[in-house]
């Protein structure tokens, strides 16, 4: 088994993103360190634009996550609707 992960600065902007990820990826586990939240998930992790938008009540461009992104791992695939990290291609 390989894990992918993504980490965000622990702040208000990251909160809906983290919530959306945890809901859309049932296997995802988040860990909080000083100033940082890291989310690990087995093999694959998806960030869905709509899930974030439903939490913030406005349109969201997935490129906005770069503002609070700290690190990630795995192959990244991004289109207008979702961003996927995975080891299996």
């Amino acid at each position: 088994m390989s894990k992918v992960f993504i980490a965000f600065q622990a702040n208000e902007d990251s909160r809906p993103v983290i919530e959306a990820i945890l809901e859309d990826n049932p296997d995802a586990v988040s860990t909080t360190s000083p100033a940082m939240v890291k989310i690990d998930c087995k093999d694959r992790l998806v960030i869905r634009r709509e899930s974030i938008e439903s939490r913030i009540g406005r349109s969201f461009d997935l490129q906005e996550i770069q503002l609070n992104l700290i690190t990630l791992t795995g192959h990244l695939d991004e289109d207008d609707d979702q961003l996927t990290l995975s080891w299996k291609r």
């Binding site: 390989s2 000083p34 100033a35 940082m36 490129q63 770069q66 992104l69 700290i70 791992t73």
Partner: protein, 517 residues
């Protein structure tokens, strides 16, 4: 909005192609080999540059928008930090020494990355490859500059930072990071990107930035954590680029695989050796500790790197040669490194100290197999000597490894009580190495590494004294003369933390009488 609708119509990927790939053309008034002269001599074969993908598909409009926003946030914090004497909020003045090592050793590399990516951002034949590298080039300049601006405030009040530029090009331990980057930049463009984007950014920078910056937060340094994490948001783009680069090169031609494998062997080891400095920052220099080097290595090295190399196995790539040895050394690295700096504390441009009792217990808990047995007795011995007024300073100079340029203090992988020595002969001279892997790197490319500007050799050859200094006069103190050449504020930048000006000032500014002054 209509604009959104038309963007949709075209789709992110298609739009990106028009905005990047479409810009380039095959030159005819000058041959392509002359316009891009450096991408053929390394033996890497690229058949179709258009197969290169930037997964983030960043165009300048979005780049300016998001980067501008990041900078606005970051500088608001840097300003607030300076206005409120934020430096007095850190856990303990010992913490500030991590920043000294950072500006002396790491920030100059950010600058080198800026210039290095400018070089490959000009030289790669493929348009999207160039653009991705160009964005990285200016990102790296951003990191160098934001680090200057953050550390600027500390430099006003503490020693060990004022002459970082002069030091980075001269001081013995700083030739470790300097030679690392000079090595990458003097290589061909493909080796450079494999070295920096992949081996360093993707495999190793998590170890530099993530636990260390989390540590900065834990130690109350909000300015540093902000630049660190803000830089990391660019790094995640760079890491993604690093992974794409490696896939791209490997997929282009089977003949590329062995070349890349050799670079991975080399650069994993080169990068790992530089991280020796990070290991001791984490275990010894952060007064409040987030995780041990060993734990960090397990998460970001073994687990994450392991997942990556499993994935690359389908191309015929195996784990780098030094992988197992790095895992064996995780129980030793930070202790051996800190002991060495403690020894050479008179010639280091930051303060050193023995760990407190509480810290020793933490180290015992984190390193149950090695700390009490091998390293605690050393620190206790030195502590005792210092109590008796005989703080140990090693007045001689260490032998350096010709490749990584670290003093030869690493032990045999199979015997932690025996120093590891390796050597090679080349054109009648003998060259020394700290490990099999450093020796391998030299043996493959001796004509490169014989050029190394080894600080200790340079000192012994008399090249590190100020003009007019006469080493033949009676009572000549070579160490002092070298420190003058380094532009050291003798007695303020160097020696033990205990009794240092930094310690006294920090205490006095806190209104703490114990600090004296």
């Amino acid at each position: 909005m209509d604009m959104e609708a038309s963007k949709k119509k075209l789709g992110l990927k298609e739009r990106y192609n028009h905005l990047t790939r479409g810009l380039g053309w095959e030159t005819t008034y000058q041959p392509m080999e002359k316009v891009f002269p450096y991408t053929r001599y390394e033996g890497i074969k690229i058949h179709d540059w258009d197969k290169w993908e930037d997964p983030f598909r960043l165009t300048m409009d979005a780049y300016w928008k998001y980067q501008g926003e990041k900078e606005k946030k970051l500088y608001a914090i840097i300003d607030a930090f300076a206005q409120n004497n934020g430096h007095l909020g850190v856990s303990d003045a010992r913490y500030i020494n991590t920043l000294k090592l950072f500006i002396q050793g790491v920030s100059p590399l950010e600058y080198m990355a800026h210039r290095g990516f400018a070089h490959v951002g000009r030289q790669f034949d493929g348009v999207s490859a160039r653009i991705a590298c160009q964005m990285q080039s200016v990102d790296e300049l951003r990191h160098a500059q934001t680090q200057m601006h953050t550390v600027s405030n500390y430099n006003k009040y503490y020693n060990g930072m004022h002459s970082w530029r002069h030091w980075h090009d001269r001081v013995w331990y700083l030739s470790v990071p300097k030679s690392f980057f000079d090595d990458a930049m003097s290589a061909g463009p493909f080796e450079f990107v494999v070295a920096i984007s992949f081996a360093f950014e993707y495999v190793l920078t998590n170890l530099l930035f993530v636990p260390f910056m989390s540590g900065a937060a834990y130690n109350g340094d909000m300015a540093t954590v902000t630049f660190g994490f803000s830089a990391q948001s660019d790094e995640s783009r760079h890491m993604t680029l690093g992974l794409e680069i490696i896939k791209f090169i490997l997929e282009q031609d089977p003949g590329n695989v062995p070349i890349v494998q050799r670079w991975l062997d080399k650069w994993f080891w080169r990068g790992y050796k530089v991280l020796t400095l990070v290991s001791m920052m984490m275990d010894y220099m952060l007064p409040k500790k987030v995780m041990s080097w060993k734990e960090a290595w397990e998460i970001y090295g073994e687990q994450n790197g392991g997942a990556l190399f499993n994935d690359l196995a389908r191309y015929g790539i195996r784990k780098p040669k030094g992988w197992e040895q790095a895992s064996i050394e995780k129980d030793h690295l930070s202790h051996q490194a800190w002991s060495t700096f403690y020894n050479y504390g008179a010639a280091a441009l930051f303060h050193t100290w023995t760990p407190t009792d509480g810290e020793k217990d933490w180290l015992s808990a984190k390193y149950p197999d090695t700390f009490d047995k091998l390293y605690r007795p050393r620190f206790e011995h030195w502590e005792q000597q210092a109590k008796e007024g005989k703080r140990f300073y090693n007045g001689t100079l260490p032998m350096l490894c010709t490749t990584c340029q670290i003093p030869m203090f690493f032990t045999e992988p199979t015997d932690p009580t025996k120093i590891c020595y390796r050597e090679s002969d080349y054109k009648g001279d003998k060259y020394h190495f700290c490990s099999d892997h450093c020796k391998d790197i030299f043996d493959y490319e001796p004509e490169k590494y014989v050029q190394s500007w080894l600080p200790v050799h340079q000192i012994y050859q008399g090249n590190c004294f100020n003009p007019g200094v006469d080493p033949t006069v009676p009572g000549f103190d070579p160490l002092r003369a070298v420190l003058d050449y380094y532009h050291t504020n003798f007695g303020r930048d160097n020696f033990d933390f205990e009794g240092s000006e930094d310690q006294k000032n920090f205490a006095r500014w806190h209104g703490d009488d114990a600090g004296g002054a």
